[in-house]
Amino acid sequence: MENILEKIAYCTEFGKINKVSPYPPDMKGQDGVDELTKLALEQGVSPNDILTKGFVLGMERVGKKFSENKVFVPQMLISAKAMTTGMAHLKPFFTSGEVKRKGKFIIGTVAGDLHDIGKNLVAMMVEGSGWEVIDLGVDVNSDKFIQNIKNSNATAVALSALLTTTMVNMEKIVKEIRGQVPEIKICVGGAPVNQEFCAKIGADHYSPDPQGLVEYLNRLVA
């Protein structure tokens, strides 16, 4: 049983989605996260273990390598894709409540900004660590953030910005969210953002990469 969970973690880490995927080349023809997750469920492995000892572990490992510049955006995204493929098999257990997610997390790229690769990566990493993610896309204004926070009862919301000009919009958005939903944790990130700016605009958390955010979110529900 441990063995299949380790296999799922390994396939997640190296981005082996399913049997037909040609990547990584040295695993050609072997089962991927897709097949292994199905098999694990058939063998009676608990969905919760699949999530935490399979997907979460695999994503953690690749996330660490990404933070250390050992792998790049495509490798990160492919791991996330593998994880999402496996996660689809766990959907029924989420719905039935048998597997509990850690909470709800909302993310969007702020108004005026259309860069979404980093935001997508963050969303996938957070999902891969056991959270339910609501992705609002790009060019998101305060109203849309607030409306979704209210409708979803989310624990945390994250704002991404890649432009120095749209980073400035974060201040207004943070203020408006605070005014309407004071209890929500607000996280900010993206290349031009830093800790000092985060503190200045009154957001709760900044980290330079998804790994730091995941650790913060997990502390919130620990």
């Binding site: 981005g15 989605i17 995927s21 040609p22 990547y23 510049n69 792998v71 790049f72 955006v73 495509p74 490798q75 995204l77 492919i78 894709k81 259309l114 979404d116 690769i117 997508n120 432009l163 120095t164 000009t165 400035v168 290349a191 031009p192």
Partner: protein, 346 residues
């Protein structure tokens, strides 16, 4: 009459000159100088040219450049584009998503979308700006493919569906080749190929999915009278060699890279351009800060004669003239001091 310029000589002159050349990628302040809006310039070649001309008349740039509009080629392929009055246009949604849709994708002709307007702007600039070279512009093959396939999706598709992405890149390259050749006919002296998305790849993937195709364009178009400058603002240092491998005679870098490291790595006969933050510095700083930041970069790169100071990307709409003035003042002061101090040592 277009300036007939041997671009190898031009580059050699820049390298041998005691003065540091400045070629910011900058058209938007020109649009504002002539009292027009972004939407006017990106949809009308004559207005676009007038903006280029306004910059050339006002500022001592060593070459004129056109708008880095990364939607022209995608629109030609059929993407829906969002135009804002004061914003650079953007692609609204992906056009293709698998092998079949890519196979069915037709390579557009030169009458599609706004291609003719961009050729017109280039032609008018080449004909009317005779005191310095004019560079046209286009998107790079991988970034174009990313716009058609979705930027995030292409990053993984390159690995798991290489046949699909290779076919797409072949089509993108065909269009770009045709476009650059047409651009060359307008009389411009070179082209800046903007390949930002390739910056997110690792070296092996960049070589296979970007540089290889850029090289095809370089080989087919670059000659004594036509220079290719490859811009990659996504490169954080890991792709410099891959950029050199394309054979482009000029390389242009974004603000996320260490310019000194680049200058140490790139052969001294290749022009190296960069890399002041177009938004953080040009748009958001005040004139005093710009002067300091510009002059710091000039001092740090003093030893490298192939360096050309530039913005790290197209300077966006809304940059004040005072800030552009401050940039050129810093360049001017540096050149003046440099020459006087050199003379003093004789």
């Amino acid at each position: 009459m277009a300036l007939k310029q041997n671009m190898s000589d031009w580059a050699a002159d820049l390298i041998n000159s005691k003065e540091r050349a400045a070629i910011p990628i900058m058209t938007h302040p020109g649009i504002e100088m002539i009292g027009k809006h972004v939407i006017d310039a990106v949809t009308d070649g004559t207005t676009h040219f007038e903006a280029i001309k306004a910059i050339a008349s006002q500022y001592p740039t060593s070459a004129a450049t056109i708008i880095m509009d990364l939607t022209v080629e995608s629109e030609a392929f059929g993407c829906r584009i969002n135009f804002g009055e004061h914003e650079v246009p953007s692609v609204m949604e992906r056009l293709v998503h698998d092998f079949e849709t890519v196979s069915n994708l037709k390579i557009p002709d030169m009458n599609s979308g706004r291609i003719q307007e961009y050729l017109k702007a280039s032609r008018l600039a080449a004909e009317n700006i005779a005191d310095r070279p004019v560079f046209g512009g286009c998107i790079g093959p991988f970034s174009l493919a990313g716009r058609l396939f979705d930027m995030t999706e292409i990053m993984t598709a390159a690995i798991i569906e290489p046949e699909t992405i290779t076919l797409l890149l072949e089509k993108c390259t065909k269009l770009l080749l045709q476009y650059v050749l047409e651009m060359k006919k307008t009389g411009v002296n070179g082209i800046i190929i903007a390949e930002p998305a390739a910056g997110l790849l690792d070296e092996t993937l960049c070589e296979e999915f970007s540089s290889k195709y850029v090289k095809l364009i370089v080989d087919a178009t670059q000659d004594e009278n036509f220079m290719v400058v490859l811009h990659n603002c996504g490169n954080t240092g890991h792709l410099t060699q891959s950029m050199v491998n394309t054979g482009a005679a000029g390389l242009h870098f974004g603000n996320r890279i260490d310019m000194l490291k680049v200058l140490q790595e790139v052969p001294s006969n290749i022009l190296v351009m960069g890399n002041l933050d177009p938004v953080g510095v040009f748009k958001m700083s005040d004139a005093g800060q710009i002067k300091t930041i510009t002059s710091n970069l000039l001092k740090a790169t003093r030893e490298y004669s192939n360096f050309v100071i530039s913005s790290g990307c197209d300077t966006p709409p809304g940059v004040s003239q005072a800030n552009v003035d401050a940039f050129f003042e810093a360049v001017n002061d540096f050149n003046y001091n440099n020459i006087t101090s050199k003379q003093l040592t004789y």
